[in-house]
Amino acid sequence: MATTKHTLVAIVEDKPGVLNRMASLFRRRGFNIESIAVGHSEVPHLSRMTIIVNGSNAMVEQVRKQLDKLIDVVRVSDITGDNITVRELALIKVKANSATRSEIIEITDIFRANIVDVASDSLTIEITGDEDKIDSMLKLLRGFGVREIARTGRVAMVRGNLGAVPAEEKAARSRAKK
């Protein structure tokens, strides 16, 4: 079965062990989490997770349903097919000397990234964007020597008025449209 990259958004209760329970499920069903980003949501005591996994539609749907069964998970949606905004933040520490510094700064400007730290032989760049943007900037920077990379993993949001509603609701809605 063809595997594709899926973007899952989970709203979970802010309780100890939630991440553990979710990770345990992914491990048990043999899934590799490509990235996971966790933070507060708009509702107090609820956290929002964005999980990127690879898998066939059927397998990801099975995991989504299993995740949804966890008591602390309020809802999980697969927003892969939706019109979504995806962002990731990366900090990149790149080697720099007097000869290369200006060229690096130029690249930074082109990508609308920021220099957040300058040291005698390195620069730290902060870049926000989708995966492609960060990857292409990294490609350019590698020539100078990349010392360190820290990436947050992707966070995603559906564009427009719709929120990350459960798939059943969405299915019902699309049925109604037809």
């Binding site: 209760e13 100890p16 329970r21 099975q62 349903k65 949804d68 008591i71 809802r75």
Partner: protein, 569 residues
Amino acid sequence: MKKTGAQILCESLIEEGVDVMFGFPGGVLLPFYDTLPQYPQIRHILVRHEQGAAHAADGYARATGKVGVCMATSGPGATNLVTGIANAYLDSSPIVALTGQVARPFIGKDAFQEIDITGITLPITKHSYVAMEAGSLSGIVKEAFYLARTGRPGPVLIDLPKDVQEEQAELHHPGKLNLPGYKIPTKGHPMQIKSAARLINEAQRPLIVAGRGVIISRASAELKQFAETGQIPVITTLLGVGSFPENHVLSYGMAGMHGSGYANKALENTDLLIAIGMRFDDRITGKVSAFAPHARIVHIDLDPAEIGKNVRVDVPIVGDVKAVLQAMHEVIDAGEHIEWIKQLDEWRKQHPLTDIKDSAGLLPQYIIRQLYEATGGEAIIVTGVGQHQMWAAQHYFFNEPNNFISSGGLGTMGFGLPASMGAKVGRPEKTVWCIDGDGSLQMTIQELATLVQDNIAVKIAVMNNGYLGMVRQWQDLFYDKRYVATPLSCPDFVKIAEAYRIPGLRVTRREEVKAAIEQAMEHDGPFLIDFMVEPEENVFPMVPPGAAIAEFIEEPKKEVSTWPRQSTP
């Protein structure tokens, strides 16, 4: 007035209707056990191994439909519960497991008898808690019981640090539960029910396969009404045995790896399979690609994650089985499937399960038939795991739900004795027989002492063949009779029973079976019969692993006709 955590725990348990629990004390549970005598409403049954406590709670839950409670101390006590918790998880049995934990300041320090039991049981519990404050206990207990028994039932664990049991707090009566992430589907979607009804009304060869979900949902009456109106034959899974009366004209018994030939033939030939409260375990599907090849499938289950997990489904209905069957009954036509039922009856004649070979030896199937006769089919039968389990499912006929208690999903040897203990405690008015194997019984045989100490009148029938019989059977059929690690040197079970002060009998001949069973039933208290059965008897029919469900092997016929006749000149 302030109370200790232990008092709050006891009062919360009573609030949930707990009147019995199975446990084993230990260092960190001393505050609880010291408090327990203040609450004589809670009967505590001391097991001999914590695995027994978990299985007993499970057996209690299955026999009564109520939540079973077990308790173990931290560390090894808690890890000994793990098998029992896993067993309850796989068979959706509602239990609450209470574990002691080291005092809060010691958590995470690898203290004496400290183990991360919530971590260990993460994948085998429906939910779990570490009670970090005495004040939170009443809420936790309420939630735990609610989660264990509602929706798809399952085990819930509460870890209790020692100092939380001692801590003083106000007893808050918990308010409304706040579980925003917990959804219980109730009624099925009306559109889906309508689609299913259309298929049912059109089908020529419809077939119902009923699972444990029917029993959990207490939907046997609805199932019967539904099947009768539609004139739809019914087969069951192993754990669905009893969900539909086996003496009913539409009952075609159990399907699956050791299901009847006619039930499996029905699966192969049906054009519409209505799967109710079951999860398409590999023991019932056989080779998935060849499963119900001509059928469209309607799947009714409470758990959306079971839909489409193993088998493609045409019409999924997520909802409580009872509500869905009621709704569906309203929209189906009165059916008539005379040709199909005639065909099934034909297969029943061609592949009878009821023939027991006319052997001079002592056959386990014969013994189980005798147990059926002696108990009028009304006993609760609890089994271990192995050949005896399959024979019990095949040859005892169950007409009521909750009367067949067996470890299905996990296949836990040793389940029988402690689970029968729990069943008898839960339903003392019933005769409870534990049908066990010599291998299975020895895994939890120490619970004989519990039977005596708490006077739990379980009757035990050991099918003693001197082998780990089911594994030996596979070696016989698929490994060229190389019996590696399956011959079993058994103790004298009658003497063992006597040593525990349980009367026992050994039966070696067919003629003695009836009298022995009667003697056991007349005795007021636990009783053990050691049946020395034919050592190399196999369970048939059998679907070989990896084969399609209709490719079952039947008892070699030659043996049936020649062997006994040779002995009579």
